[in-house]
Every structure is written in structure tokens, then in C-alpha cells.
Symmetry: C2
DNA sequence: CCAAAAGTGTTAGACCTACACCCATGA
DNA sequence: TCATGGGTGTAGGTCTAACACTTTTGG
């Protein structure tokens, strides 16, 4: 059975073409059936879609999420949704806020527990999903029309990410396994929405000890090839616990 | 109508006798009736209590909270609960996490949106409440037996507060309007659970500009009277937005 | 050889840390 | 006059901010 007063939404951030992007979908009950485990859940989901035509409209996009089945753990289920929708495992996922204004969704009383996820979009062809009509990346400042209060949720996620990135080394999750310092800097510039000084940025980031020199270099670039770095999981754990000051 | 799958809990922190305390209650449906607005809500609440005898036991204490009525905004209602339970207005209150493991409460499927509040317990006689059998302060490391997973929620609130206090000037909410620097330092020492250097602490805190010298002094103390300070709301707002580094 | 981005060092000022003694008050 | 906690300064090291040119690569 599905808790009809409760849904989970994931704001999935990706760093693509030097821009911060959000992954949105157009859901469809027929396809969601592959994900739901009982016929009853499917019927309930269909009803919810019927009550809100916007959910099925081609004009609107929505955050990736579903209602919560009664027997599922909240955090575990959020992870499950994310894995099924993207095909990725071990994604950085964090619950950040529960939205509960009484009028946020027309004709229904639904609270939404919102999560944000950070992924590197380059590896996988996310646009093919077995449980949605469409899944697509949108630049954070060029969002399409979205259903209900999804825009407010995205906004809130972005503000949370900005805070988070100042004190914890989470930004790295948005990069491929090997990355250049320029990519890392651009990422921070995009998230914090301000220019950083290259020399100071490099000094600061290197001093943290979080970077491992992979001894590799870029290839096939029409300019001096940059060194590639990875990040050190041990030091990452440590910095995550201790905190970190990245208020550049 | 009450959403029976959804409750709100408040972890109310207070700073008392140089210790961090949490306010807990023993609820009782008969008294809660004063707070609920319809007979239906009262009946539903009574049922919930009947299902879980621990809720009404004299052996157990619980976080201050109730189920959420369908027509109420989540954040607004949390504030309302807090105001009614404590008699205080304008309390610092922040939603910090939603607990949703499927087995966290026996025989029922309830998600709890948890808030933490910071108050200065000195002003008011909180132990008299019109909506509970008992309300009482407990030192954070001498908690009584608590119902369900309240201890985990308190733990999580404490961890959140510790993080928060490092980067935002929230600690001040726990103090009376006028306070001494030693009180402020002790507060930080208690929250962060470490000793701080007095001279450095004072320099740092004064440099932030957050303190206003009230020109008043302690009276009736058997030692040199300390200056009393207040905190500057304008600078507080500013520091709250910009962030702050208090990783002493 | 040109265009494009990578990579690098210094200096001045601010901030942080560690540390020990005198002061004001009431009992 | 004593016990108690209030209040203060300095020096050495570290971090930060501001700033411009040379290097490497592929086309």
C-alpha cells in the first residue's frame, strides 16, 4: 500500500558543459508499474495521476520521485528510486527538507520529503529510462515548466548545496573520477556563482590534501594538456567529519 | 482530520545551570484536547494512544509533538505546538530531518518530521503546561527512558546543532537577553564539548561585531561583576546569511 | 607560429594560537 | 583579606588576497 499523503522527490544535480544541471522527468503510471511491486500500488498511483492531469502532461516536467509504500524505509526507498531512474549506484544522496504547506498541491494533501543527489552525468545515457516517458537534463537557470512547487524545491536544494559546499567537500561527487583543477574550479565557480582566483584556489585545494595526482594528462586538447587528479576517499571522509572551510 | 502517518516532534534545547538540556513531556489525550480543534481529531488521537500504551506510561518521556492535521501547514503547525507547549513566542525553530524507517514505531507506520528549537529556559515556568501531564527539562547526558526512537532523534538534533553552531550564530538564542562573555563561552564549550581559550574566544567573538555592550553589569556576585552584552539583530541577520567560521 | 588554456610565486596584511597575571567584588 | 571568577596583550607562525607572466599543446 502506498502512503498517499507522502512522496519523495529527488533533485538530481549534474555538472555538464560547465553548467549546473538538474535531471527532470515526465512520469507515466504505465511505466512506473515496472517499479511498483503490487497491483494495489499501481492502481493508487494511477488514481493520483488522474486527479492531477499536470502530472501526465507533455507540457510539464517534474522531479524524479514517487509516493512511499507503507512498508519501505524512507531513505532506502529514496535511494531505490534514484538507482532505478538513473541506472547508477552509490550516488551521493542527502535528505534536505520536507515540504508540507497544506496548499502546495491542488486537490491533495501531500507532504514531500526532498533529497538532493550529486552525480557526474558524463558516464551514462540517462535519457533512456524504463520507468518514465522522458528524462532530461536542464540547466539550472533554464528550467522548463515544472509541476506543483517543484521549482521551490529545486531552489531550496540549490541553496542547501551552496551552503554544503562551503563546509564539506561534496562538490567532488559532481566530477568524473579523473578531473583537472580547472574543472574543479569551474565547478565551484558555478555552484557559488562567483569567480575565484586561480592561483589561490589551487594553493588552497592542494593544501587540503584531498587530491591525488593520477600522473595522467589530458589528451587531444588544443592547448597545454592539464594534469588529471582524483580525490582521496580517506581524506574525504576525514574532511567530511571535521568540516572544512571553503569560503573562498 | 489528522494525518495518522505523520507526526511532528520538537527537540527543544535549553541552556540551564551551565548544561545543555532537552525539554520532554508526558502527553495525555485528555489534555491534548485543549489543543486540538475538532472532536474527530481528539478521537483519532485517543486511538493512537490506545494502540501504544508507552505513550501514556509514567515510565516514559517523549519529545513534544503531535500528529499533523490535514489542513495545517507543516512549519506553521510546528511553531504552534511549540508555542502552546512552552508559552513562548518567536522561538528559533528549525526543521532538520524526517525520520521514516518503516519499523521505527511498533504497530504503526508513522513518519516524523523533526524540528529543533533553541530557548532560554530561565524566563518561564515551563513545567506547567495545560496540554500535558508533565513537562520537564533533562540534561542531555542524563535522559530518562524515552518512547520509540526519540533518543535517536535527540541525538541527531544535537549533531545538527553542533554543525550549525560552527557556521551560524545560532547559539545566542539559548542565552537570556543580557549575558556575560563567560556564559557565552561556556555555552559554546558545552555544545561543542571542548574547552576554549578565554582570551582567544573573546577576541574572536568581539571581532565579529555581533555583541552590543549594554553598559550593564552583573550584581550580587561574589566576585568581580562581569559586563553584560546583548546581541545585535542586524549583524546577526547578516552573519546568518554570509555564514561565519566558528571552528575554534 | 598562433590561439588557447595550464601552470606558477611573492608580498603585505590579517588572523590564529599559545600562554600567565592582575582586577573587582562580596562574604 | 580571601576566594572567586572577570578581564587583558604579545609574539611567532600561518593563512589570505591581490596580482601578471611563461609554458605547453594542437591546429
Amino acid at each position: 500500500m502506498i502512503l498517499k499523503n507522502l512522496s519523495i522527490d529527488c533533485v538530481i544535480f549534474g555538472f555538464k558543459d560547465n553548467k549546473l544541471n538538474v535531471l527532470l522527468w515526465q512520469a507515466e503510471p504505465a511505466l512506473l508499474e515496472n517499479f511498483l511491486t503490487t497491483e494495489e500500488e499501481y492502481q493508487q498511483t494511477k488514481e493520483i495521476f488522474e486527479k492531477n492531469p499536470a502530472l501526465a502532461s507533455d507540457q510539464y516536467w517534474g522531479l524524479i520521485g514517487t509516493h512511499l509504500p507503507i512498508e519501505e524505509d524512507l531513505d532506502v526507498y529514496a535511494k531505490k528510486i534514484l538507482e532505478v531512474a538513473t541506472g547508477l549506484k552509490n550516488i551521493y544522496l542527502k535528505q534536505f527538507k520536507t515540504f508540507g504547506d497544506s496548499k502546495r498541491i491542488p486537490h491533495m494533501r501531500v507532504l514531500t520529503v526532498a533529497y538532493y543527489a550529486l552525480i557526474n552525468p558524463e558516464y551514462h545515457d540517462l535519457e533512456l529510462s524504463s520507468i518514465a516517458k522522458a528524462v532530461k537534463w536542464f540547466e539550472i537557470d533554464k528550467l522548463p515548466k515544472v509541476i506543483f512547487d517543484s521549482e521551490a524545491i529545486i531552489d531550496s536544494a540549490l541553496r542547501t548545496l551552496r551552503e554544503e559546499v562551503k563546509y564539506h567537500p561534496v562538490g567532488f561527487h559532481l566530477l568524473p573520477e579523473n578531473f583537472t583543477l580547472t574543472e574543479l574550479q569551474t565547478l565551484y565557480e558555478v555552484i557559488l556563482d562567483k569567480k575565484l582566483d586561480t592561483r589561490n584556489f589551487r594553493k588552497k585545494i592542494q593544501k587540503m590534501g584531498l587530491l591525488v595526482d593520477t600522473q595522467k594528462k589530458q589528451t587531444n586538447v588544443a592547448h597545454r594538456a592539464a594534469k588529471l587528479y582524483a580525490f582521496d576517499m580517506k581524506i574525504y571522509q576525514q574532511l567530511t567529519e571535521e568540516g572544512l572551510n571553503f569560503s573562498i
